[in-house]
Assembly symmetry: C2
Homo-oligomer: 531 residues x 2
């Protein structure tokens, strides 16, 4: 009781300090990144803060004319909707239909080319803000207390620096943990911290540790070539002085990492890295009446929820028929988010929806399993509600996310390009009938809920902390001021090695000198004796 | 409001789960370690847990016949009170009166001898528990849910392992962070993490980084010689199988580190390391009437609080007179905890006390400065209340603690053996009259208070978490399963080096072969031409 009371008093104290509310500028993002961000921003508005979101004129998911409790700061970008859509489609097509039939080298080269070719889009979006005088004038006049950004969308760090305001980042992961390691100085020993998207776990044998070391190295080379070289040039041009984008990102006061130890493998962290995985999760609300009726009609068998996420709406007719056949063989009722043509093999137990209230369905007591593409948002909703998963990962972090869930015993994965009616059906039956999957999902759910604060409350606390204190410098390690060789004490080790070699050299020379003297005396004596 | 409510609901949920209370076994400790532990144990009793403390028959600070809300489990040790007191006095005398006049090598050797000679005491205390059949029988029958220990007092890990119960450690620091690094796998790059007791800060130039690397190495060698070799032998004898004490300590579920970023320099941490510095701090209570009158008589000048801690009660007459002279020259009233003979030079502004309510005095609005030996408990009370300090550090972590406070601009240090009336007086005047010291103390106080949970609540949460979940395995990094060379990927790097060398060798041999073939053809052609 005392514990609860004192926490409440503490938070009351903090809330009181913030009673006037702060002014938060939010950097634009896209797709699941934006979906994930919204509930946190809603909470910030609830707590009396003014939230202003930068919205590009071309976006797949952001819309500045949508009624909202946020203020919008729209800006023009020289990219058409069709071009943007085409880019996303090309990337998704590569991951869904090409990658599985390539060797690792081809994958790496193709991915490298895809990223490199599309990097200009990043700059066109960034132009819309930092090269636009009216926008920058407005932002300066806005007197914001903080800039909040997902660093996957470049430029938040540059803008925060120009405006001279604190920066809070929110990030699920970067390829090979490149941003966290190189810019945030987060230690990630490759022996037990698998690189994000490496599909490795924290339990690695020699060959896996070797792969992980190479994966880190390759990602660092790729990021240097794709991102840092070009973006440093761009930032330097804007600032009029040599500027390192990674150093600017390193100035962030707080990194809100959207993972936790229910999903991620435990690893070293830093005081300004807060692990708030599941930041968007919330209790389930009642379902629409028609949907609730369908769910209740499942009886004891229960339901299966199926969605391939916000980016993939349709699959090929052949694939859709194969999936529908598998679902038709399940004793459960199935709710499938699918906006393509109705598959011919669709069973009477399966209903198609253009959109489903995914979180409310996952939190429904009748839900037995979740068939998912393995996006982090969906996985976290399943963890929150303790639902075992069947993963059909396709792109980005999805395959890696499913590796995490499989390693923790809460999921089975099937490969999109190689799955059959039987393998999909068997996978769903497995996670429903083998009790260990539900037990492990419930164990992860317990870990998720049993922490001192909910992830969203923790994120809100540190955002408000940064505003109250105009930064969070006392949480930043001194490593940011060191070069890479100083960080690893290589200069010290080199110095000690030189001293060692010098001592050995002196010892050798001394011994050699003594030996010569001895020999010379001996020869002298022997010679005299002979004479 | 929503934030506060949801935190309350979360904690209510956790509290409800613990409504029956757990059974906590507390390992014995001594001096400030025991003083620090008590308020946390009181809170655990308040929350309905049964707390049983192992108390040795010989102790300077623990007393099993003292009325208390804890249960005591007394055990016999074959050490007399006089012997124990003598050991502490010898150590304190070395630090207070000898060390300042020795070179670093002499200090190291003397300290090494002191520790080595006194290690048998550790085993005699440990004998009293693990070699005592009646005690071990009682502990086994006690069905404890958790063992709580300060690992500076060896054996808690062994006993938890024998009893098969989870282990929570509470630790301020170990010399050169040896326990945290070697057993807890806490990353501590020597380039920006100064070894505990090294008197370095996190801002180090080349020579300081060199010192830190050597300091870490020397501490590791010393700990291996003093502690690990002998204790591994002892543990192996008890367990009847080769046992590594460091590995047993590494099994701890949670490490409650009694520091935070108000006091310590920010550094890498691990998910099962919780930084709860100031765990014992609490708001000030009203002073005894006579003391309050004296404090009020100080007027606007205010008061200075002076204590050399629980271990040092008296100093030499000469030193006492020198200190009293300095205090007499202050415009403030001074409350000095001192049980020696009244110094001749004692001013009318100074009163001596056998004991002072230190926390209540530090929290008094009239308090202007705190003259302290630099113990972590006292420093945390000063941080809690935002009081600038003058340090007269003497032994253990005290000099290092004061380096931290000086680096953060909240203290001035004077050297016990070299201070004069003037230097002590000037130091006190400095921290009172130069506003930056008070401002920095208040800044640290703000950092201390402005966190999601109070340190004691956080410690209680993780102790209860460990009991509820019978451990906290999901927070433990996989590094515990790696050898040191695997951890640092040295086997992987060696493999890559060999592959590189092989490739170079093959390349060299191929070139050499081609070159020879070319030369041979050339010679052949030339020869034929000549012929």
């Amino acid at each position: 009781m005392e514990l609860r009371l004192s926490v409440c008093v503490l938070l009351l104290f903090c809330a009181a300090e913030n009673s006037n509310g702060g002014k938060i500028l939010v950097w634009y993002s896209e797709a699941s990144h934006w979906i994930n961000m919204k509930p946190l921003l809603e909470t910030l508005v609830d707590r009396g803060h003014q939230v202003t979101v930068l919205v590009p004129s071309t976006s797949l998911f952001m819309n500045s004319s949508e009624p909202s409790r946020f203020q919008y700061e729209p800006f023009d970008v020289d990219v058409s909707f069709e071009d943007l859509e085409k880019i996303f489609e090309t990337i998704i097509h590569f991951f869904m239909y090409e990658m599985d039939f390539m060797n690792p080298f081809e994958i790496y080269v193709t991915f490298y080319d895809l990223m490199k070719n599309n990097k200009n889009i990043t700059f066109k979006f960034l132009d819309g803000v930092v090269k636009s005088e009216p926008i920058m004038k407005k932002l300066k006049e806005g007197n914001y207390d903080l800039l909040f950004a997902d660093p996957i969308y470049s430029g938040g760090d540059l803008t925060a620096d120009i405006l001279g305001i604190p920066l809070v980042l929110s990030l699920c992961f970067s390829l090979g943990n490149n941003l966290e390691r190189m810019c945030g100085q987060l230690p990630a020993p490759p022996s037990f911290v698998p690189g994000a998207a490496s599909k490795l776990t924290d339990k690695m044998d020699f060959s896996e540790r070797l792969s992980n070391v190479l994966f880190y190295a390759l990602q660092d080379v790729m990021m240097e070539q794709i991102l840092w070289k070009e973006i440093d040039k761009y930032y330097s041009e804007i600032r009029g002085t040599p500027t390192s984008a990674c150093e600017l990102m390193g100035k962030a006061d707080i990194w809100l990492m959207r993972t936790y130890w229910d999903f991620d493998f435990p690893r070293p962290l830093l005081p300004n890295f807060k692990f708030v995985g599941g930041i968007h999760c919330k209790p389930a609300k009642p379902l629409p009446e028609e949907m609730e009726e369908f769910v209740q009609s499942s009886g004891d068998a229960g339901i299966v929820v199926f969605s391939l996420g916000s980016m993939v709406k349709n699959v090929s007719t052949e694939k859709a028929n194969m999936i529908a056949s598998a679902l038709a063989q399940l004793p459960q009722k199935v709710l499938w988010r699918y906006s393509g043509q109705k598959p011919e093999t669709l069973g009477s137990n399966t209903r198609l929806y253009n959109w489903i209230p995914q979180n409310d369905l996952l939190g429904h007591p009748k839900t037995k399993a979740f068939i998912t593409h393995g996006g982090a948002n969906g996985i976290y909703e399943a963890i929150y509600h303790g639902v075992p998963m069947v993963g059909i990962p396709m792109f980005g972090d999805q395959p890696d996310n499913m590796v995490h869930m499989e390693a923790k015993g809460a999921a089975v994965t099937v490969k999109f390009n190689f799955m059959t009616t039987e393998s999909l059906r068997d996978a769903v039956n497995m996670v429903i009938n083998n009790k260990s999957y539900k037990e492990n999902a419930m164990r992860l759910s317990k870990i998720h809920h049993d922490r001192p604060m909910s992830p969203r409350d923790e994120a809100v606390f540190w955002i408000e902390f940064t505003m109250r204190n105009k930064g969070a410098k006392h949480l930043k390690v001194q490593a940011h001021e060191l070069t890479w060789y100083q960080y690893h004490s290589l200069d010290v080790l080199a110095f000690l090695l030189i001293i060692d070699l010098l001592l050995i050299f002196i010892l050798f020379k001394s011994c050699s000198f003594c030996f010569k003297r001895c020999c010379s005396s001996y020869r002298h004596v022997t010679k005299r004796k002979i004479n």
